[in-house]
């Protein structure tokens, strides 16, 4: 049997029957509602707790209750885990656990398996009372074998039935147990994890799931000849493991944000679920508004009144917030906006990843509406960037938009436990009486900065307005005032930009190809670039965290490469299309901006399959570009 990539055949004496591997990609796919995600998340958490690098991504069906045993019903999770740090979801899976023979086709269509992928499939369908199902099962198993998958048929339900009358509910924990044996997971940690995920359930439920976990483990130990070991590097540092939305939730609390005003929308909502569980214990509160417009208005009202606030949303909600964001820019109200991007336009692909909101956040407001936009590229950054965003919003008196995405939202990764700081929590403004003559918009001419008054502050009384206004906060339509105040608001971005350093380059400082990315693609891009470099390719990459203002020094860096290309998960026209010319081509979103700002002929590699970009695809494109460059 061929093993997964990175297999090292060096059995240690103690685990002589265990094959030592460097990393594996595992998928668990079931009908929606069968708990594959719960099993996978637990597996990922246990692995992280054991010191392995982990990245998980959920496979989410678009409908709430799709018909079972259909491709549309495929629900599950991908877990990439290894001895070292894992920064992305990787390419083809090494192992697939399938609860029926149909759901894998959803993934097969997306080319996520390869020859040699091990398939562990529920075998109860082989003896189903329906002829049709038995036939379908047999056909699929044959097809899997034709595709050169390595198939193991597993009596999941049969085994679970020994413990529970309703195996559909418990099968996932049995599978978790089986995987724990396969990968030599620490069963104490696994049991603790099961206890945690069923923490709100009765003891009977917890016990029954623990029994299933153990049963799966025991069965695998007796029947399954697939035993791996992943050496784990014990981290010196204290680590936490969570997904990006949970990291955002922690960031919100650590930043001392006292109000999260939101309206439910995938994939942003789970942030508020976590917040709802704990923000009241840290002195904050959630407001679930009647819609996204009201949600941002409420947050702006609270911020105006001196309470730090955040609003969280995804694409369609962001669209609704547009007018209020313009007001926050115009009236200079600090505000943190978190946009967990999904596929668009319109309702688009609610559960899938895209990086398609960049231009919308930058240019979505009528009129000129400069604001800070930053994008975390790891789960850890999801935490720290909220703290950062709050500080920028207040210092520069403007909205700061944080662009996360569905990939970060559901991706789970361990990272160093944040050491919370008191200064992060400090109240936004000094509320002592305003100095005599202090104006509500007493702009500093050089930087555009000003100190805002807050209700409660004597001497600061003013009426905030979205109309053009003077330093005194008075409505004015004088042409020179509008020109000047537009310049002052814009200046704040330049002032802030001066505090940024040029981005770090991954690889040589000069060469043939420079790949530029932003957001959740960091891990995949660097992995691809590093492999290409190991193969002798002259390629480097840089990853932008600040999209507005752009990090400085880009033009200098770009000039040192023959070609610059962005890698993004959003739509761009392909020059291979006969209708498309370099002149009418619509570029990927960061590419548009970089072209406009640097006048460098930046190319882009982007697509909208709703999937995270795997390192393999990026590597292929890099190699293609490098060979084209070498031909010239």
């Amino acid at each position: 049997m061929k093993d997964g990539n990175g297999s090292l055949a060096s059995p240690s004496p103690k685990t002589s029957n265990r094959r030592v591997i460097k990393e594996h990609i595992l998928e668990i796919v079931s009908d929606s509602g069968e708990g594959a995600q719960k099993a996978g998340q637990s597996f990922g958490a246990v692995s992280a707790k054991m010191g392995n690098g982990v990245w998980t991504v959920e496979i989410i069906p678009a409908d709430i209750q799709p018909p079972p045993r259909t491709k549309e019903s495929a629900s599950g999770i991908r877990i990439r885990f290894g001895s070292g740090k894992i920064t992305n979801a990787g390419d083809e899976a090494d192992v697939l656990v399938a609860f029926n023979e149909i759901v894998p086709y959803n993934r097969i269509e997306q080319n996520v398996y390869r020859e040699g992928t091990i398939v562990l499939i529920e075998n109860k369908w082989a003896t189903d009372e329906s002829d049709e199902i038995r036939k379908s099962y047999a056909t699929a198993i044959q097809d899997f074998k034709d595709r050169k998958f390595v198939v193991h048929e597993i009596p999941m339900e049969e085994e679970c039935l020994k413990l529970t009358p309703n195996p559909k509910k418990g099968k996932n924990m049995w599978v978790l147990g089986m995987l724990c044996h396969m990968y030599d997971r620490d069963m104490e940690k696994a049991a603790a994890q099961v206890g945690y995920i069923f923490r709100s359930k009765s003891k009977a439920v917890v016990d029954s799931n623990l029994q299933l976990l153990q049963a799966g483990y025991d069965w695998a130990s007796d029947h399954l000849d697939l035993c791996y070991r992943l050496p784990s590097v014990e981290s010196e540092e204290e680590l936490v493991v969570m997904n990006g939305n949970e990291a955002l939730s922690f960031g919100i609390q650590a930043a001392g944000i006292e109000l999260c005003s939101m309206y439910p929308i995938t994939p942003a909502t789970s942030t508020s679920h976590h917040l709802a569980e704990c923000i009241q214990s840290s002195g904050g509160i959630i407001h679930q508004a009647e819609d996204e417009i009201a949600a941002v208005g409420f947050a702006i009202g609270a911020s105006y009144a001196g309470k730090t606030s955040v609003t969280i949303t995804s694409g369609p909600g962001l669209a609704l917030k547009t007018e209020f964001l313009g007001l926050a820019v115009m009236a200079e109200v600090p505000l943190v906006v978190i946009d967990v991007q999904r596929g668009g336009p319109s309702t688009g692909l609610p559960t899938k990843v895209e990086q398609s909101d960049l231009l919308a956040v930058l240019y979505g407001q009528p009129g000129d509406a400069p604001k800070v936009v930053l994008a975390p590229s790891t789960i850890e950054e999801c935490f720290h960037f909220v703290v950062l965003a709050r500080r920028i919003a207040e210092s520069f008196r403007m909205p700061v938009i944080l662009l996360s995405d569905a990939n970060l939202a559901t991706g789970v990764q361990p990272f160093p436990r944040p050491q919370l700081r008191e200064e992060w929590l400090s109240p936004p403004v000094d509320q002592s009486p305003r100095a005599e003559g202090a104006m509500p918009y007493g702009w500093d001419e050089k930087t555009g900065l000003s100190q805002r008054p807050v209700p409660g502050q004597a001497g600061g009384e003013y009426t905030l307005t979205g109309l053009a206004h003077s330093a005194q906060g008075k409505v004015t339509y004088l042409p020179e005032v509008n020109q000047k105040t537009s310049a002052l608001r814009s200046l704040k971005l330049a002032t802030f930009g001066r505090t940024l350093k040029p981005p770090r380059i991954n690889g040589d400082e000069e060469g043939e190809l420079l790949v530029v990315g932003w957001g959740s693609t960091l891990g995949a891009i660097e992995e691809a670039v590093n492999i290409a470099r190991e193969q002798g390719g002259s390629v480097s990459s840089l990853h932008l965290r600040f999209l507005s203002p752009l990090e400085p020094g880009l033009l200098d860096i770009f000039k040192r490469f023959k070609k610059v290309m962005t890698v993004e998960i959003n739509y761009s026209d392909s020059l291979d299309d006969p209708m498309i010319t370099p002149e009418n081509r619509r570029y990927a979103q960061l590419a548009w901006i970089l072209r406009a700002q640097t006048l460098v002929d930046v190319d882009c590699f982007s697509n909208v399959y709703g999937q995270p970009l795997g390192p393999g695809k990026i590597l292929a494109r890099i190699n293609k570009e490098l060979s084209k460059l070498n031909q010239h």
Partner: protein, 317 residues
Amino acid sequence: MFGIKKDFICELPKKYYTLSNYEKGVARWCPGCGDHAVLSSVQRLCREKQLPPEKTVFVSGIGCSSRFPHYMNTYGFHGLHGRAFPVACGVKFRRPDLNVFVITGDGDCCSIGAGAWIHAIRYNMNITTIMFDNQIYGMTKKQTSPTSRLGTISNTHPTGSVLPPVNPLQTSLGMSNVSFVAQTADWVPGHLFATIKAGYEHPGFAFIKVIMRCSKFMGPLVEEMTTNRDAVSILTHEKGIQPDDGTLHAYKNHQIHDPTDINAARELAEDQATSYLGLFYQNKDAIRYDQYGAHNLGFTPEEKITAVNAQLDKFAV
């Protein structure tokens, strides 16, 4: 206590606010516009209640009426068309110490802001709302408003509007958790003041609809409303708004109405032929969302850090 003798405690002279402490600039409404009257009444209320200007916030949308905060020497928020309610609720949610007023127009409230409006009623925060109902879009120059009477000639319906109007009293009274609904008219100053005062004193969301004169665009209607006193009836009850003698004298039609009786209130609201001025409904015990919002204020940084760390422990490797 602490050995300090009573004689040593110096009482700072409490500042007394006069009307001029609440006035700012010259209101730029048309002469004869009803908005002027509401402004005077509100300034009078602020003086009577001695509201500290720095602790008082007027939140408005967009429209002629929504210019109101610019003429108050307090804090103000002149935001977006239709969005005064969410902003005001956000201001109040974590700042129970602030006196919050919403100033809105019939278009601002009942058309573009209708969604936020009915939810604001349900949130029942301690906010006083004054809805300036001139039955027209004033600011944008005479378009049909949701409260325009059927057949109103406007720039968008030159041959007369074609739908029956929204009835804001009915709508408010139909919303769950409604706690205060009153109606008054800008040209009945005693009643106007008494109503705004009752709204301010109400512990919850007070919705006050002021029938308003738009002298610029609604001349004939203004004429009819202000002269035909038979179409007006003053609501009286010991639990209601106590109008001044002048009002009771000028308007002969009186109607006894118990403002705790929501069914009776709904019936009165439905009566299109008569404009009832007074308190339609009040419930001082309705659930207040601002109390929920303010229930966990004032954590120390140490308390916050301890709480977040305890949560982080659950995610520790």
